[in-house]
């Protein structure tokens, strides 16, 4: 039942044995090596209980700086630069140790994804904006703003029905959201137009 694995004592990494060609197994081995490296880097015998106190604060400072840089670029109208900064920030977040607090990681990531989705909408990269907004909805599915983001992306991608559904879902969380109502009216007009009808 056991699999043939190779082990390098110098780098303390595991590798697949000769003749083993399995993509999923290779991924598992890669993830194991990442976790081993993180465990060794942590220095402790066993990893501590993940809390916000044990969160890597040095990395948090760097990530915050990147975020501020991105926001500054957004304010000055450099949307592409802003999107790049946010992408780098997201990459840094995903490099955090796997045994660090998930709650902290989620908070940081959602902040970056929101800003990046807005930057993509400004640079007219609607597909990327859609992806970010979709991920955000998966992470926080009660935030109307995320539905607005995905709805706008869907609208410009030509998925009017999907955009309508997004706006309506957003409105179910915040009935008096003026922006959502306006966008919903626009998309309803567009759907009528698509169907060869009018009000």
């Amino acid at each position: 039942m056991s699999i043939s694995l190779g082990y390098d004592p110098k780098s303390k990494t595991v590798s697949l044995g000769q003749g083993v060609d399995d993509a999923s197994l290779a991924l598992e081995v890669k993830q194991l090596n990442t976790l081993t490296a993180e465990l060794i880097a942590s220095g402790s015998d066993v990893p501590a209980v993940p809390t916000m106190q044990t969160f890597n604060k040095d990395l948090s400072v760097m990530i915050k700086k990147l975020y501020e840089g991105g926001v500054q670029a957004f304010k000055t109208g450099k949307f592409e630069d802003s999107a790049k900064q946010f992408s780098i920030g997201i990459e840094m977040i995903s490099r955090r140790h796997k045994f660090e607090s998930f709650q902290g990681t989620l908070q940081e990531l959602s902040l970056f994804l929101m800003s990046r989705a807005d930057a993509y909408l400004k640079t007219k990269e609607y597909l990327k904006a859609f992806n970010d907004a979709d991920m955000l909805i998966g992470m926080m599915n009660c935030t109307p703003d995320n539905f607005l983001r995905r709805g706008v992306a869907n609208f410009f991608l030509g998925n009017y029905e999907a955009a309508r559904a997004d706006y309506q879902r957003g409105l179910s969380f915040s009935e008096n959201n003026v922006r959502l109502q306006t966008e919903l009216n626009i998309v309803l007009d567009k759907i009528l137009e698509e169907n060869g009808d009018y009000l």
Binding site: S4, L32, D45, K98, F99, L157, N159
Partner: protein, 304 residues
Amino acid sequence: MAEESGSEKIAEEHIKISIYTPLIYVAILLGIFITFSIIYRRNRLKKLASIEPIFPENQTAKIYDSLKQSASDPNVPKDQKPHDKVLKAALLRRAAEAIRRSMKLKENEPVFNKLYEEGLIGDDIYKQFEVQAKFQELELKEIVAECETYKKGWVQTFFPVAQEICFNEALRRRLNSMDERSKEYAHLWDYYVERSEKPAPAADKTAKKIKPAVKAETKAETKAETKAEAKAETKADAKAETKAENKEEPIAETKEEVKEAAEEEDDEEGETEDAEEEDNESESTNANKTTKSKKKKGGKSKKK
């Protein structure tokens, strides 16, 4: 006297039964029982083994077993044995996978129960679910026992850490799949993505021309067809026939073809409007309004 002698004989016969007889009887009974039990258990085990697992093979458990085996193997030289932290990492990953599976099973438990109660799934599938749940329990117990061999009391912090690893890995998986998904969506929505993200003026124009032209064509066709049925000899009828012929033609693919088709449609649209004016029907005015409103809304959306 004769009766007394008869009863004595019977008593003598009873006494003659060997002492081993009940023992043999009990032994045979036990033998049969044990044989039955063995066969029954073997069959049950076979049935359990034949149940298809819900989850795919547990790779993390296999990796851990393999590493543990080489760590405890006396034939493997000491410097080639996996480091303690490698084993710990492998155990943490195994626990993370076990937690993921347990959570999936818990998530789906009410669904399985409801479906089974309503008779929408069979006994075999429900049994499959139950076996998997039991198997996960055993897996977690085994992990706890393994965990204790590395450090006493590590179990207290082990599972919270494994849970964070499980969640963080899930988040990274979703993040990493974004690029791949983006490619698939780009392929799926190719037309819209090209139109909205790379506004090439020529492509945009053709795209805009196609839609109103097609809509006008379909509208005019339906109207003209109804009129043709009613009157059968009007101009609209003849034009409807030509449009029906046009409809059967393959969709123009090149830009030039598209432009030509759009121009033709514009001309035909004008002609149908004339025919409709002759009939003095309110529908024609509606159609005009629709096309106008479309143009206006198209302009609006373009501005947006």
